[in-house]
């Protein structure tokens, strides 16, 4: 009848509406949890102190940003916190190939039952919360804990060693705890990637007489590298975000100097009343993370010819 067709009568239009509806929940989620919180940044510019509400507080501009560095002691504190952050993240980043190697070796285990056992045993700690990890640590390492009791019973020690109060090797021990908790879990992604390697390649290499190590070196690892690099880039972008739970539960007056990473520093500032300052610090942190991500992505583009953004 009518010669002109309205756009809402076209099948294509409704199809695109349908497709859009599919992603709406995720857009809402991203907006709610990634963009809406940015609105909270305004706290950094006010003299905010609970129990007052924000509109009862004075606007102070960049006062809190300046206050972070207005004395050598404060600068010293921040430098120490950054050192800790860099050290812990650096250790994690430097050993980020561990899960990959672990997955490769795990894959080489022929006994299926044993392999499954190892995989389960190493994955389980990931589901133990940090508080529980600390209570395990406390039971083993306190002055009357398993370690001290054992060492004293066999006569190695006279007096108990206060392991948890030690301020030595904090970065390393924390890295050990983290690795113990995460290694198996992080390897899962690589195990999945290994299973998707084309079996024909491996068979062909074996026909050509490649040894087991040669198969790993020339086939398995190169096939895993793309996955590795994606995870690496994400890790670098998260360089400043090493979380606080672990360091929070393990921290005490004796190791605080070395265990206080940026996230914990922000938390400590906030919990003792410095809301605006801690918001200011986390704003700076977000900016640095963004810059790091862009740099790493650029580098990845140059070196490997592919970017992830």
């Amino acid at each position: 009848m009518s010669s002109t067709k309205h756009f809402w009568e076209s099948k294509k239009f409704w199809y695109s509406i349908y497709l859009f509806a599919l992603i709406v929940p995720f857009l809402v989620l991203v907006f709610l949890f990634s963009y809406y919180p940015l609105y909270g940044w305004r706290y950094a510019f006010y003299d905010y102190k609970p129990p007052k509400t924000l509109d009862q507080c004075a606007y102070v501009g960049f006062k809190w940003f300046k206050s972070l560095v207005d004395s050598p002691v404060k600068i010293g504190q921040i430098v120490q916190v950054l050192k800790n952050t860099f050290a812990m993240s650096g250790l994690t980043l430097g050993t980020s190939w561990l899960p990959m190697i672990f997955a490769v070796f795990l894959n080489e285990i022929r006994g299926v039952k044993f392999r499954k056992f190892v995989q389960t045993a190493t994955t389980l700690p990931n589901f133990v919360s940090w508080v529980m990890v600390y209570s395990i640590a406390f039971c083993i390492f306190n002055s009357t804990g398993a370690a001290n009791t054992f060492l004293m019973k066999i006569g190695v020690l006279e007096e108990p060693i206060l392991f948890l109060q030690s301020s030595e090797h904090v970065w390393f021990t924390q890295w050990l705890w983290l690795t113990w908790k995460n290694l198996g879990w992080a390897a899962i992604m690589y195990i999945a990637a290994i299973s998707s390697i084309d079996d024909e390649m491996i068979q062909a290499a074996k026909v050509d007489g490649a040894s087991r190590m040669q198969v790993i070196w020339h086939i398995t690892i190169p096939s895993l590298l793309p996955t590795y690099f994606v995870l690496l880039v994400i890790n670098v972008a998260n360089f400043l975000n090493n979380g606080m739970e672990q360091y929070y539960v393990f921290s005490n007056p004796f190791n605080k100097e070395f265990i206080q990473v940026l996230d914990l520093y922000v938390f400590n500032l906030m919990s003792s009343g410095g809301y605006p300052v801690s918001v200011a610090v986390s704003m700076l942190k977000s900016l640095v993370s963004l810059v790091l991500l862009i740099i790493v992505n650029g580098a990845s583009k140059k070196i490997r010819g592919e970017s992830i953004l």
Binding site: V28, L32, P51, V73, K74, L162, F254, S271, G274
Partner: protein, 582 residues
């Protein structure tokens, strides 16, 4: 195929809807808190009749509580039976991060139905409308009005000074300079048998005290069960801006730590970092104790509750709080001569505040968001809490179980005597369980135990009843009196000028600005961390170096501003003290 599509579409719609609903819930929450701010400032003049038909779970935000959760046991049963109420205690001290809890609850506009806060926090909460105005309401409650003078005195400093918002805690009607307690609050206390075993040495100063304790620990490295015992067992969960253990024993040498300053018995004021001050002296004292192997190695990692069980097992040889006696002493042990008791140290000048006539620095209030029906029930409960019945239950438990009445005289039963030091089982019909677990977990009371019960003419505190005093005349106290020539420690210390009673003042002081509050928290963290580290210092030089490093760092964090602020802040309190002692 089509139905599948429809299903996925429906699913995504539901997802979006639920998210939006989540948001609007939030939004609703914040508007209602805004609304409550308004209702907080407007005074409701009359109270609805209390209706007990439904169970009311009272959110009780309580900075004094050492317990989080719903009050259970015998005390919970009394409150439930009388008022059909459950007390859901929210305890910042237990929650792990008290400040964060306080701030999030404040931000939500609902701190609790009942609220116990320190004076200065209360002042801020009144200013922000979180607290119910009780003007015209509280007057209808006769038991609360017995303390009208004190309540009015405190509230004259709240808001514009004409309204009643908060009820001070631990008040009494004995007068502002009375000191009726049987014992001083903080003083060195040891097992009488152990002190005698090492020759009852005369203690001239802290060095003698340490040597005496070292002798005791050498003679008894373990308790009778073979568990390791130490002279000192410290705990860190009560630390605020400084190390609480140090601050308490600093009182032995005439100074009380208040924020960043030390306030002296002579009304002097000095920074906490003063090397001639009591904080430094007693921190060094603990360091020396640690050097001598007298400090429990668990000290830095354990909490108060572990210390309690250690005291009950006699694994701690030095007490300082007077109420620590409850964890060990009994008349029976007293007659064996093994009770803990004050051991005078000749060079002390104890800082002892008078009984808290005007209140103890914490106050109780009602949240502004409660409805009129809830308010009626809460006020009814509070009036009971301040009534002779409520106060007596608070301070001595229930008649029949913990005490008996004969000719108007109260006498503790065996269970009553042991209620703190042993596991006393409560009969099922009274709520069951262990007496201590079922004890009032609010841990603060409107009326102090030294106030006089009109029914008996004696104080509410069971240890101040004439029957108990007589019962507590044990071998331990008799021998002590013989040796030191005084009836009790209060008499001995007064007679020998070893303590000064400072008038009790309860006024709201200046509230921190945001700058000061940040400096205070950063300095506080540093002082606490450094104090603990200094106790474990390697040697004297290390101790000194750590102290100096702490002072330098404090200055970089703005310490001097904080000290100036606190000096001005406590000025009015010192003036009031001078006025009261004249």
């Amino acid at each position: 195929m089509k139905s599948k599509k429809l299903a996925s579409l429906a699913l995504s719609t539901v997802l979006v809807a639920s998210l939006v609903a989540g948001c609007s819930n939030n939004a609703g929450g914040s508007t209602s808190s805004g609304g409550s701010t308004e209702s907080g400032s407007g005074a409701a003049a009359s109270v609805a009749e209390a209706d007990h038909s439904s169970t009311y779970t009272v959110d009780f935000y309580n900075v004094a509580a050492n317990f989080q959760g719903v009050q259970s046991g015998w005390y919970g049963k009394i409150v439930k039976d009388k008022f059909n109420m459950e007390l859901n205690i929210i305890a910042p001290q237990v929650s792990g991060d008290g400040n964060a809890l306080y701030q999030t609850r404040c931000a939500a506009g609902d701190l609790g139905d009942l609220i116990i806060l320190d004076n200065s926090d209360m002042q801020e909460c009144v200013d922000t409308g979180l607290i119910k105005d009780l003007t015209g309401i509280i007057e209808q409650y006769p038991n609360l009005m017995k303390y009208e003078e004190q309540i009015k005195a405190f509230n004259s400093m709240m808001g514009d000074g004409t309204k009643i918002y908060a009820i001070p805690l631990e008040m009494n009607n004995n007068g502002p300079t009375a000191y009726k307690q049987l014992h001083v609050y903080s003083y060195p206390r040891m097992g009488w048998d152990m002190y005698n075993e090492v020759g009852a040495p005369e203690l001239k100063n802290t060095d003698d005290l340490l040597n005496c304790l070292a002798e005791i620990q050498k003679a008894h490295p373990t308790n009778d069960n073979g568990d390791k015992a130490y002279a000192f067992s410290l705990w860190k969960d009560w630390d605020s801006q400084y190390m609480e253990n140090v601050a308490q024993i600093a009182k032995w040498y005439g100074q009380e730590v208040n924020g960043s300053v030390l306030i002296g018995t002579d009304n002097s004021i000095a920074p906490l970092t003063d090397k001639n001050g009591a904080y430094y002296k007693m921190l060094k004292f603990l360091y020396q104790a640690q050097q001598m192997g007298l400090v429990d190695p668990d000290s830095a990692t354990q909490d108060w509750n572990s210390v309690v069980s250690k005291m009950q097992d006699k694994r701690v040889y030095l007490y300082w709080y007077s109420w620590q006696y409850g964890f060990w002493n009994t008349p029976a042990k007293g007659n064996e001569g093994v009770n803990y008791i004050e051991i005078p140290v000749a060079d002390t000048n104890l800082f002892q505040t008078a009984d808290t006539y005007y209140g103890d620095g914490r106050v109780l209030a009602v949240g502004s968001q409660v409805t009129d029906e809830e308010l009626a029930r809460l006020m009814e409960f509070l009036d009971w809490y301040a009534s002779p019945e409520g106060v007596q239950i608070q301070h001595a438990g229930t008649e029949g179980l913990t005490y008996t009445v004969e000719n108007g005289k109260y006498t503790l039963t065996e269970d009553g005597l042991n209620r703190f030091s042993a596991e006393v089982a409560v009969p099922e019909e009274l709520g069951g369980g262990n007496w201590n677990d079922g004890n009032n977990q609010i841990n603060q009371w409107i009326v102090a135990s030294c106030d006089v019960n009109p029914d008996t003419g004696e104080p509410y505190a069971s240890d101040m009843w004439s029957t108990t005093i007589e019962m507590n005349q044990t071998t331990t106290t008799k021998e002590w009196s013989e040796k030191f020539g005084a009836a009790d420690d209060v008499e001995y210390l007064t007679k020998n000028n070893m303590m000064t009673v400072v008038p009790s003042i309860n006024i709201a002081l200046d509230v921190d600005t945001t700058d000061i509050s940040l400096i205070r928290s950063q300095c506080g963290e540093l002082i606490k961390d450094s104090s603990w580290k200094m106790i474990y210092a390697a040697d004297d030089a290390d101790f000194e170096a750590q102290w100096d490093a702490m002072v330098t760092q404090l200055e970089g964090l703005g310490w001097n501003d904080l000290v100036t602020f606190d000096t001005n802040k406590y000025g009015p309190m010192l003036e009031a003290r001078k006025a009261a002692s004249n």
